[in-house]
């Protein structure tokens, strides 16, 4: 009888074994290998989904055993936050694997691609299911290495350059987290999550811990001023990887920060010491800078990448306002942004693959050749702008309410400005795509193949269907998590 507590370990062991198997299977027979990768990722998603009743009934799933000894043992723990992240990650991965089948059809080194794709899934799941900071660090480093191989997959000079930037910044991120972890262990003698704050004092020493974590996870999240790798790496990667990078991997950086705010420190301590002002300031700059720079990009994927930076700023903002509603907004925005940015990157990939055009100025009339793709693009773009009933609206609403709760109405204006900027850099693409001058509208249909369209449509639907349902499930989850985290103290 397999105990429930072993579930995280079984999932991780399965993913890593599957990644090795996928490598050799794809090498032997591409179709079988791709099928295997798809089945494995679906299995992982379903297994995580099936954990839900247990989580609801019994609280966090904590693994019964500890593993490894480098130098301390690590254990796994799936709480509501980790669970939602794991679900989101595995879901997006399924879509990325489906999409890759067509997108990567004529690409090289597919064995490596699928092997590392699954390994990166394992690393990401490991981060969100880790029960202590050391386990988190292990998978954090592993994710840096595995995602590097995905980023440089094209192996052309821009990809290699972007990859170089990425790997060194990711390494620096790992060292920063190591630095803080060792200081934390020295100070607190424990690294496990789930207690109400490992540290209880605000001293220069604990501030150093805070800043180290902020640097490490900030690099991964792509927040100002550590975002410099992101606009290069996200466009350089193959589209499904870009979708994963922007959709979930940057969120893992934010996830790390949430752990730091609520498990390493405590919200009371952060508030009392005033350290949330650091992240608030970063959030403001990140939002404005990301949006402003996105406006100037003509390369479609680069524009999306800068937009990701701005959106991470939203999550930073919600996290640092330290109110329950704002935190709910931040958590919900993790989900919302995963859906819309995932959709946008997959659309961009379809456009690039079908037309070979990357520049926005060349995309006039594309909506008539690829109607479904561009319709989905439009939905996601509207969600970005924050129009009801899309998810983007809900997160903006929650963030604004949270800002008012915190007594800082200025941030509402910030969100409004950012929305306007979003509109300014997304809507022209849509308008030009559908309402181009008649001369540019000729030609055959270039619609993406169904294998690529399906994930795009699912994600596009994901940007609003939950809002239409009677119970907005992701929102309920975000509320539940935020409620437990804030009221814990």
């Amino acid at each position: 009888m397999v105990a429930l507590a072993d579930a995280p370990v079984i999932i991780l062991a399965f993913v890593f074994l599957a990644s090795i198997a996928a490598f050799f299977l794809v090498r032997r027979n591409r179709r079988w290998g791709e099928g295997f990768a798809l089945v494995s990722s679906i299995l992982v998603f379903l297994t995580i989904l099936s954990l839900y009743p247990a989580l609801r009934e019994g609280g966090p799933v904590v693994s019964a055993y500890t593993f490894f000894s480098f130098p301390l043992a690590i254990h796994f723990r799936v709480d509501h936050l980790g669970y939602s992240m794991a679900l989101l990650i595995s879901f997006l991965w399924v879509l990325a694997v489906i999409y890759s089948r067509a997108y990567m059809a004529h690409n090289h080194a597919l064995d490596r691609y699928y092997g590392f794709l699954l390994a990166a899934l394992g690393a990401s799941l490991g981060i969100v299911m880790a029960g202590d900071m050391l386990g988190l660090l292990l998978f954090f480093e592993l994710m840096a290495v595995t995602s590097y191989v995905l980023v440089i997959h094209e192996e052309d000079p821009p990809a290699m350059f972007a990859g170089g930037k990425y790997i060194y910044m990711a390494m620096a991120a790992g060292f920063a987290v190591f630095f803080s972890t060792i200081l934390l262990y020295f100070e607190a003698g424990d690294l496990a999550f789930g207690s109400s704050g490992l540290l209880t004092d605000a001293t220069p020493f604990t501030l150093a811990i805070f800043l180290g974590f902020l640097t490490g996870f900030g690099i991964k999240a792509g927040a100002f001023p550590l975002h410099v790798w992101l606009p290069d790496a996200h466009p350089a990667a193959p589209a499904p990887v870009s979708a994963l990078l922007s959709g979930v991997m940057v969120k893992i950086g934010v996830f790390g920060l949430i752990r730091v705010f609520y498990e390493v420190f405590s919200i009371g301590l952060i508030q009392q010491a005033g350290w949330h002002r650091i992240t608030l300031a970063l959030a403001v700059i990140t939002i404005l800078l990301g949006s402003a720079l996105a406006l100037r990009q003509d390369d479609l994927k680069r524009r999306l990448a800068y937009s990701t930076i701005a959106q991470v700023g939203y999550i930073y903002l919600g996290l640092s306002l330290l109110t329950e509603v704002a935190l709910t907004g931040a958590l919900f925005h993790i989900f919302a942004h995963a859906m819309m940015k995932g959709c946008l990157f997959l659309c961009a990939g379809a456009i690039i693959l079908q037309t070979g055009k990357r520049r926005i100025s060349h995309l006039g009339g594309i909506g008539l050749k690829m109607p479904l793709t561009m319709a989905c693009f439009t939905l996601a773009a509207l969600s970005m702008v924050g129009i009801p009933p899309f998810n983007g609206f809900l997160s903006k609403l929650l963030l604004s309410l949270g800002a008012l709760d915190a007594g800082a109405p200025a941030y509402v204006f910030l969100l409004i400005i950012s929305s306007l900027l979003n509109a300014a850099y997304y809507l022209p693409i849509v308008v030009a795509a559908f309402f181009a001058p008649p001369g540019e509208t000729g030609g055959n249909s270039l619609e993406a193949p169904p294998v690529m369209l399906a994930p795009i449509i699912v994600l596009a639907a994901g940007t609003f269907v939950f809002a239409l349902a009677p119970a907005n499930w992701p929102l309920e989850m975000a509320r539940l998590i935020a409620g437990t985290m804030i009221n814990h103290f």
């Binding site: 490894f68 480098f70 440089i152 060194y168 390494m171 060292f175 060792i182 020295f186």
Partner: protein, 507 residues
């Protein structure tokens, strides 16, 4: 076990390679197969005997004896946990490297001399680890260094002679310094025995002089800045297996000697009071940063590895000179971690240099396409060097950092991390360019390889990737690569447990 039997067995740890080396010289006319078997057996027997010592040692049996040889001082051996740890490391690497070397030196006309001297040098190393007093230590230490000189000048090119002489003069200076210190300690305390826990009890100028002498001696061997000059040249000019033996074993005799001086001659608490180890912290930090920085600009793979070795030994000396239990444990663990990591890198480098026909890193682009197995192992070892969990170096970095924090010097954590980043900067590009972004390509050879190629009819034979190559290349690389990461993945990290038990005896 009967005490006499134990004594005989332990003597054979040192005697086997010495006799093997001699026999090899006598049998130089016989077939290659016989000679190879002789080399394998003479390094395997010490490994087996050492493994058997673990039982008695754990039961707490006293493993020490003084022989009535070489009066007036007398030779003695003594195995405690720390000594056992070092010995096990030495005999293990001696065995693995000698397997690899058999394939690597194939076709070299002077291979017999090389192997004879290598076995003798190994015997010296084992003797150092077994030594029960500083006189025995000194004897084997010198013997080992002299034999290594022959290995360095193996190719007998002008450059290698120059490198060899540089090494020789520095090692003689080190020996003289060690002699001076040993004489002072003998005069002052009347004993040179190890394991008594602090022979010196008063901070006299003579004791300080002896301390400085010890540091010069072992600092030279361990290539501590500013005594590191011999190392990059010697590594670059010597045949690769010699560099591996020096890196994995001989450097560590320097660190081990320092550990014994700190723990047994002076005692850690005495040194903490006297504050003599303080300058070493700065020198070690300098070694770490300087070694890493210079490694960054080397295009010769072997030289890059050599400078990186200077940085890595800096970790060890840093840990020892922090005089704090966690830090010393980290340092002693790093002795093992570095041996596995650098051993893997060197063995892979050897295979790649042979396979690609170049030592220039810039010409190794696409090596991963030709030799995927070797370069994968290289990459794993590179990530170890960077300090990724769960690999070994992460563990040593962890304990070193804890020790530094315990001593109230968080800036040293920063030093370690800067060095880690530099490690990433000079190792990862090699791994990256091997697999990604560049099509396979060939480069030109180089002087020292030329010297080999002229005599080696067997060039290229068995030096491709694992599939094409001999198991004698593949197996050592695989074993060492596994050693880089396996211990941290086990539920109990037993080398770490041994290290902790060994270090505890000092505090």
């Amino acid at each position: 076990m009967h005490p006499t039997l134990t004594t005989i067995l332990i003597s054979f740890i040192v005697l086997t390679p010495l006799l093997g080396g001699g026999a090899l010289y006598l049998l130089r006319k016989s077939s290659i197969g016989l000679k190879e078997r002789l080399i394998t057996v003479s390094t395997l027997i010490p490994l087996i005997i050492t493994a058997f010592l673990y039982g008695p040692l754990r039961r707490g049996e006293e493993l020490q004896k003084t022989f009535d040889l070489l009066p007036p001082l007398g030779l003695s051996y003594r195995v405690d946990i720390l000594g056992f740890y070092m010995l096990l490391l030495f005999v293990f690497f001696g065995f693995v490297v000698s397997i690899y070397a058999q394939q690597y030196m194939k076709g070299d006309k002077k291979a017999d001399r090389f192997f004879a001297c290598m076995l003798l040098a190994l015997g010296g190393c084992y003797g150092v680890a077994l030594a029960g007093d500083f006189f025995t230590f000194y004897l084997f230490f010198e013997f080992m260094s002299l034999m290594f000189f022959v290995l360095v000048i193996h190719h007998q090119t002008e450059a290698s002679l120059k490198a060899g002489l540089k090494f020789l003069f520095m090692t003689i200076t080190a020996g003289v310094a060690l002699f001076l210190s040993a004489v002072i300690i003998l005069r002052e305390t009347g004993s040179l025995a190890l394991g008594q826990g602090g022979l010196v009890t008063e901070a006299s100028p003579l004791a300080l002089l002896a301390f400085c002498g010890f540091m010069v001696a072992f600092g030279t061997k361990a290539a501590l800045v500013p005594l590191h000059f011999w190392m990059p040249d010697a590594y670059a000019r010597a045949p690769l297996p010699a560099a591996v033996i020096s890196s994995a074993i001989m450097l560590k005799t320097g660190a081990y000697g320092m550990l014994r001086v700190f723990g047994d001659v002076y005692g850690f608490s005495f040194l903490a009071g006297a504050g003599w180890a303080q300058p070493l912290i700065y020198l070690a930090s300098l070694s770490i940063l300087l070694g890493s920085a210079i490694a960054l600009v080397q295009d010769d793979l072997i030289r890059r590895l050599a400078y990186s070795g200077i940085a890595q030994v800096g970790y060890i000396i840093l840990g020892i000179s922090l005089l704090q239990e966690a830090a010393v444990a980290g340092a002693v663990y790093h002795i093992m971690a570095h041996a596995f990591m650098k051993g893997t890198l060197f063995l892979c480098a050897g295979a790649v240099i042979r396979g690609m026909g170049t030592r220039k890193i810039s010409e190794m682009k696409g090596a991963g396409h030709q030799m995927p197995g070797v370069m994968l192992c290289f990459s794993a070892a590179a990530l170890t060097a960077v300090g990724m969990p769960p690999f070994n170096v992460f563990i040593s970095k962890w304990y070193l950092s804890l020790g530094a924090l315990e001593e109230g010097m968080p800036v040293l954590v920063g030093v370690l991390l800067v060095s880690s980043f530099l490690n990433a900067a000079y190792y990862l590009p090699i791994a990256i360019q091997a697999f990604f972004g560049v099509p396979a390509g060939h480069g030109d050879g180089q002087e020292e390889e030329e010297a080999f190629r002229q005599t080696a009819a067997a060039r290229g034979e068995g030096q491709g990737d694992f599939k094409a190559g001999s198991w004698k290349t593949a197996l050592p690389i695989l074993i060492l690569t596994i050693g880089c990461g396996a211990f941290g993945l086990l539920a109990v990290n037993w080398p770490l447990e041994i290290v902790k038990a060994g270090v505890k005896a000092f505090f």
